[in-house]
Amino acid sequence: MKRSLLNGRITPYLLLFPQLVITLIFFFYPAYEALFQSFMMSDPFGQKVNFVWFDNFKYLFASPEYIESAKITTIFSILTAITSVGLGLLFAALVDHIKSLKTTIQTLFIWPYAVAPAISGILWLFLFHPSFGAIGHSLNQLLADGWNPILDGADAMTLVIVAASWKQVSYNFVFFLSGLQSIPNNVIEAAAIDGAGPIRRFWKITIPLLSPTMFFLIVMNLVYAFFDTFGIIHTTTQGGPGGSTNILVYKVYTDGFVGLDLGGSAAQSVVLMTVAILLTYLQFRYVETKVQYA
């Protein structure tokens, strides 16, 4: 809290005006509309709109497609978060260990962050292409049942998880590296003098000290996998084959814009909002639990 404040009765409102106008028009009003429409249903001719309580939600949760999509989203998000947080930690630990070429190597790990999810999707779509891609072609020959993300659901899921994780590793790498560099050297030295080897030091000292960062990153990666991967799905699988990569964000888009199911799409939005609120809450728990080194 500031003790010395500036004077002005109207100034603060004028300063806040642009932010609040945009927030109200593009955030709150649409959120309110989604909430409102999720309790409404229009008749088949679109003439009348009725208040239907929780019917849209009942249909939603009774729909096997939606439950399937929720399951797929869970699998996709958890696997993406684990892969990218795990690799990010590994890469950061490796870079922290070396003495020379640090900056150059750091850059090589960071630049994939600049690649848009949609473009990451296209790169991996090509790499995993069963006939023209370097990896896809080899997999096609190595695997007993072949490799084809266009026809096989599990293959398609692998493709989108790899594409989503690859670019997110850089994000995690940056945070882990800055976390590792803020661990005071004397803690590590003390453990070394006590006879703990490098692996043991890593598990007993580094990991516990990094755990707040790790918690935060897992939440951020779940947010990313839930909400920011639309571009990957749209450029690679379009939710297919047979809905096997139809994650919730993609489904709300197709149901709303292609299927024009307003009430259903609004109910889906409300469910997603709940997820977003939950994840934001978890993210802010991190701020409270954050430990200060040194």
Binding site: P12, P30, T107
Partner: protein
Amino acid sequence: MIEHNPWLDRFCWLLLTLSIVLMCFPIYYCFVAATLSLSDVTHTPMTLIPGMDLLKNLKDAIGKGGLATQMLNSFIMASGITLGKISISMLSAFAISYFEFPFKKTAFWLIFITLMLPIEVRILPTYEIAANILGPFKKVGELFDYTIYWEYSILNSYSGLILPLTASATATFLFRQFFLSMPDELTDAAKMDGATPMQFFRKILLPLSKTNIAALTVIIFIYGWNQYLWPQLITTTDDMKTAVMGINNLIPKEDELPEWNIAMAGSLITMIPPILVVVFMQKWFVKGLVEESK
């Protein structure tokens, strides 16, 4: 002292090399594919030595999808979002940290809640707002039996691409955090010299915020450039499409010539601006990324 184990070092370097290959291979593969002719790119396994056709493929990619216009659109959108986000959030952070006024808490919470409302959870209603930005006023008018006939659409416009993405809780909190860390003596001195609040903002806070602005610029520019879902929704005409969206049309479909070399050339052009920003402003990028989430 920490013991030195040459075998561990060697093992680290080995793992590190593998990791670098893993992270950089997709971009390298994309580059090589972009330099090959159609017959070379479809010849499996594809060579990993760059060919001679880079310029021709780049030209084809630009010609085929109208990529030049799209790059310009992406640039305008990314710059607009950057400029908008930074100015809007600086002003509101200034209001929240330097003034005491009624409804300050409310304003703070209104901004905070936007964190929980990513565009993905309010797709359809936000689109409706973009189709007629006066929609909310119309609704309010109806409450008072007053019909508003004016309509104003921001579909297919730069303001439509930019405005909804300029509100930002994270940037506002970052600046708030920074302003709160400013010594009170600065405020007192400015007040004693008779500076108005806006003079204080321009002459003292703005110059002191330079590093924060630079760091955020890098992060937001990449965020803006890589937007996919929102431009996808609100642009229907070719002259307003952005580069990341446009690449989707270059992906060869089942029944088309497998012109992956052109798709990769297009991806390469689209990736280059954000990659250059990350590589050349790495210091700011890392700072921005880590601080934005505090």
